[in-house]
Amino acid sequence: MTDAFPAALTGPTSKERKYDRQLRLWAATGQQALEDSHVLLVNSDGPLGQYNTGVTGVAGVETLKNLVLPGIGGFTIVDPAIVTESDLGVNFFLEGESLGKSRAEETCRLLKELNPDVEGYYYVKRVEELLTDPDFLPQHKLVIISGPMRRSTLVPLTQEAKQLGIPVLYLHSVGFFSTFSVQLPAEFPIVETHPDPESTQDLRLLNPWPELVAAAAGLNNLDTLDDHQHGHVPYLLLLLHFLEQWKHSHEGNAPSNYKEKTEFREFVRSQARTSNPEGGEENFDEAAAAVLKTITPFSLRSSIREIFEMDQCRQLSASSQDFWVIASAIKTFHASHGVLPLPGSLPDMKAQSADYVSLQNIYKTKARQDVEEVTATVRHLESQLQRQTPAIPDRDIEVFCKNAAHIKVVLGRDIPQISIDSDASTLKTIRNELGVPDSLIPIFIAMQILDSVVDEIQSSSREEERSVDDDALWNSHTERILALLTGADGSAVCQEARAQIARASKELRRAEGGELHNISSLTGGLVAQEALKVLTRQYGPLDNTCVFDGARSKSEMYRL
């Protein structure tokens, strides 16, 4: 891992020290991925006509702040807007002197001050103009868009990003509400999902390998041990030892159902010495407590089986990503051994230090052997496929082996919209959600209506322009969105749901599309968190929409 940083001669670099607190969350590999990333923020698409203040883009800037601080490589802000008085009231990254200047330039300048390691650029134009250059979008690893944005800009932008495999975040923050959605590439694999440490333990008590069997066999003299030694036999070895005894009296079978496991647990418990001053033994308590969890045959989780069955895993080619080559090698490993590579970590347990260390070594050695076997398969596949790319780093294979039981492939979806082209399943999910009490989905629908209203305003001629708070506009677009949602006439939406949507719309209209700094700051935290997951390819990213209600301090996630 240290290889990722050209470490200075005297110890950790000042960069490592600066980022120390976050390196403990995503390690040097995650940090390197961040530093290799250039992020595009499309912070408005020009004015919302002569009657409106336009998108203030505070949530976008706050998101960027939370990415500049942990050290992305660089960012570009695209925003044709000019700083107004109302910007100054909500945007921390503008100063009094910014008034009348380019908002892209001013926010870029002040954000850059946060971290000298980060490069910042800006364009005072609409993103549409930049997209005419085919080399523009591919420079970015992530696109963040501040809504509402007219469809004629949004759709080409998100579609081009999709073709290039660049993830997109589309966000809204209006009044007390915010929503955002993630558009990931069609397949987005994650190796380091950081599962709960509890769930990563794989002790193989029912599939022990020879060295572990040998260690347990050394316990034949259990009865001859003195009280201290007896009370310090690691519980793992106790369980292996008693399993052998159990099998003897059960035709060679381990306890397989709940009833047998409880019987086995009682059996283990009964073997503890109670004549000692403590009246019991901690290691036996640990052993009994671990029975139900650890006396389980290995089984491949269905999510991993699905990954093995995906075409990308079954049909490798010279251009397959590293992930799929390693996944295929692991699949081969599973086919021949019936288990996944051993993660190799051992839980804490009552034991003498030296015994614990030697047990730990048995697990570590086995894990290393498994990695070597998978690595050999990977190397074989690489030469078979005649890949042109550099050899897959050993470390990536090792990390993959360690996380094999928890890898994840997210199937990316488009930015959800209620439109003529909407996915039927998206509309269905929204309709179902409308029946759920206290659901936040009405807020999502209200934001869709706002998008629709803004779309009309931005595409009207100057004479026809109307305010964002225009009654007639809202009424017609509410009906239009509801009709799209139900596939027929809007009356199919029940009165209660209509009332909820109306309440959410009222808040958006009261705010006149404007932002509250506090809500946008919080939203910037939520959005940046997802951006970090996507850029580091660690943890599980949002799939795919989050709605936040600041009045209730509540958020919900939906797959739309």
């Binding site: 000298p116 935290g525 939520l526």
Partner: protein
């Protein structure tokens, strides 16, 4: 209008009360920086910010008001200065001071509408919690670790307070485990950091909070031996900057001291005794090791490498100390070096010596990266979690300003789970809480005149109607009871009682009253002719202790100051500063602890239960 969007969404009334408000922000760290920005841009009128810390390089990845050039400067002052630059119209006041200082007394706390806690340690959190309870000021308590965060609204008599649930305190280890019989790698790390390093380079008389050196009959001899050992080590300080220093230190702590331990056969009856390391072999191995090995912090070093880093870091530290000694001015204290997880030299030294010791005791060796986390008690921290947590703090404070505590929530940020943000209703106070269930009465004294007798006779007996059989404690120290009345003529001031001091009154009668805390306010002007040197400031009714089992009597139902069963454990009076946590840490599992604790709260015993109706939430938006 700059604040037009605020007015549109919050309404005229709320916007006005925010503008007229005066709030206190305790802590200018991760959450504090975000909070300051949000408070300013939400239109809070006057914001006071206090922090005793200075800025460190490792703060810059999230504490966005600070830059490289601010390192080593006061967090509070820089935060104010930078925020002021962005918002010249904001009314800000900064203090580079400890919130636990006596100058920040109850009346100072009373001057705020709301207090925000953005702290990183339990002791200060508890202190602010207690002060806010006494001053009856709402407190918004918050904390983060990694991706997790938490926000809690605390209001006296209405909600749980910070101490209504037991908090995990930092772990401490018995001195003999650290010095004679380490059983886990952490014991060796604590030995290196809190014993070896201070003895050689620091102020060895400072007691490390993680070492518990309480003496008892069992370990008295051992502790005496350890003192002797430490003394020998201290003598090595004289020759610490010589070529052979590393050899001398090695011979002492990894040689002579270990041989002494090997001789304590009782310890090794049932486990392997410590084994000596081969110095010649290590020296030979380390000859071929470049000093750059210490940069490899993710990998566990070999013994030879540990030895090499030990030798090298010892030299580095010795050179630094010498330089400090040479440049010291005559009137300055002798210079010392102390452990800092971000100071590479001390971290290298602790890692290498802890690992050498671990090898001697057959324990697992650790990488420098891990040692840093274990020795420094590092809590992961990032900008995103702080941004979310601070935003939630402000949202909860809006409910307080609207007098809408019923709608306020306990909010959690969690990485796992279906939602990013979870909320829970606020719980009523825990009737057994050692802090908020106590009665506190303010007593004003004239520091020139008031004696203990004035307090006992004039205030407690005459005004509050106590009998003769009472005892008074300051912290754990008994200062008065019926048999122990020598101190009666002493001046309170001479007994160390200052403005803001607390004195606990226990009623030792058969049908006793609940414990009472007296909080002292000193008079700023001398007493007039007719006023007594000590006077009660507010009359209170002091309920009786409940009969067994601990169920408060029902006829006290009207009294909002509910009685608590007696408790001698005064967890709140902890003046000792434990700054171990790194950044706004939350206690692990406190969420679960809270649920457990609140589940046991009876609802029919007269406690004013908070009835929350989820149907009606969301009423934060007010029409103009």
């Amino acid at each position: 209008m700059r604040d037009s969007s605020i007015k549109r969404s919050l309404g005229v009334d709320l916007t006005r009360s925010l503008k007229e408000s005066r709030v206190l922000l305790v802590g200018a760290g991760g959450i504090g920086c975000e909070l300051l920005k949000n408070l300013v841009l939400t239109g809070f009128g006057e914001i006071h910010i206090i922090d005793l810390d200075t800025i460190d390089l490792s703060n810059l990845n999230r504490q966005f008001l600070f830059r490289h050039e601010h390192i080593k400067k006061s967090k509070a002052l820089v935060a104010k200065e930078v925020a002021q630059k962005f918002r010249s119209d904001a009314k800000l006041e900064a203090y580079h001071a400890n919130i636990m200082d006596a100058q920040f007394d109850v009346s100072w706390f009373e001057s705020f509408n709301v207090v925000f806690n953005a702290l990183d340690n339990i002791a200060a959190r508890r202190h602010v919690n207690k002060m806010c309870l006494v001053a009856n000021v709402p407190l918004i308590e918050s904390g983060t670790t990694g991706f997790n965060g938490q926000v809690q609204v605390i209001q006296k008599s209405e909600t749980e307070c910070y101490d209504c649930n037991v908090k995990e305190t930092p772990k401490s280890f018995p001195v003999c485990t650290i010095r004679s019989n380490p059983k886990e790698p952490i014991h060796c790390i604590v030995w290196a950091k809190s014993y070896l390093l201070p003895e050689l380079f620091g102020n060895s008389d400072d007691e490390a909070p993680e070492v518990d050196s309480t003496e008892d009959a069992d370990n008295a001899k051992e502790i005496a031996d350890l003192r002797k050992e430490a003394l020998e080590l201290k003598e090595l300080r004289q020759s610490i900057d010589t070529e052979e220093a590393h050899q001398k230190v090695f011979d002492k702590v990894f040689g002579k001291d270990i041989i002494r331990l090997q001789g304590m056969t009782d310890l090794w009856k049932e486990k392997e005794p410590p084994k000596l390391l081969d110095l010649a072999q290590l020296q030979k191995e380390s000859d071929s090791i470049a000093s750059t090995v210490s940069a490899q912090d993710q990998r566990v070093w070999t013994l030879g490498e540990n030895f090499s880093v030990f030798r090298d870091s010892l030299n580095r530290l010795a050179r630094r100390l010498k330089q400090l000694q040479e440049t010291k001015l005559p009137d300055q204290d002798s210079p010392i070096l102390t452990f800092d997880k971000d100071d590479v030299d001390t971290l290298d030294f602790v890692t290498a010596t802890a690992n050498l010791r671990a090898a001697i005791f057959h324990l697992e060796l650790k990488s420098k990266f891990d040692v840093k986390q274990m020795a420094g008690n590092i809590i992961p921290a990032i900008a995103t979690t702080n941004a979310m947590t601070a935003g939630l703090c402000v949202l909860q404070s809006l409910k307080v300003f609207q007098d809408n505590l019923m709608q306020a929530k306990m909010v959690f940020l969690e990485r796992s789970g279906a939602r990013a943000i979870n909320s829970d209703s606020l719980k009523p106070p825990n009737p057994d809480c050692p802090v908020c269930s106590r009665l506190v009465v303010p007593v004003e004294i004239d520091p020139e005149l008031a004696t203990l007798e004035h307090l006992v006779h004039d205030v407690l007996q005459l005004e509050l109607g106590y009998g003769r059989d009472i005892s008074l404690l300051i912290g754990d120290r008994l200062v008065y009871d019926q048999e122990f009345d020598d101190a009666l003529p002493d001046k309170l001031f001479d007994m160390g009682i200052k403005n803001g001091s607390f004195i606990t009154v226990k009623d030792d009668n058969e049908s006793a009253r609940v414990n009472l805390d007296v909080v002292i306010k000193t008079r700023s002007e001398p007493s007039s002719e007719d006023s007594k040197p000590a006077t009660l400031q507010k009359m209170v009714e002091i309920p009786l202790k409940p009969k067994q089992p601990a169920q408060p009597p029902t006829d006290d139902a009207q009294n909002p100051e509910q009685p608590a069963p007696p408790s001698t454990d005064d967890a709140a009076v902890t003046g000792k500063r434990k700054r171990e946590g790194s950044d706004d840490d939350v206690e692990p599992n406190s969420h679960d602890a809270k649920r457990l604790a609140s589940a046991s709260v009876p609802d029919s015993n007269g406690i004013k239960a908070i009835v929350l109706d989820d149907e009606e939430e969301g009423a934060i938006m007010i029409d103009d």
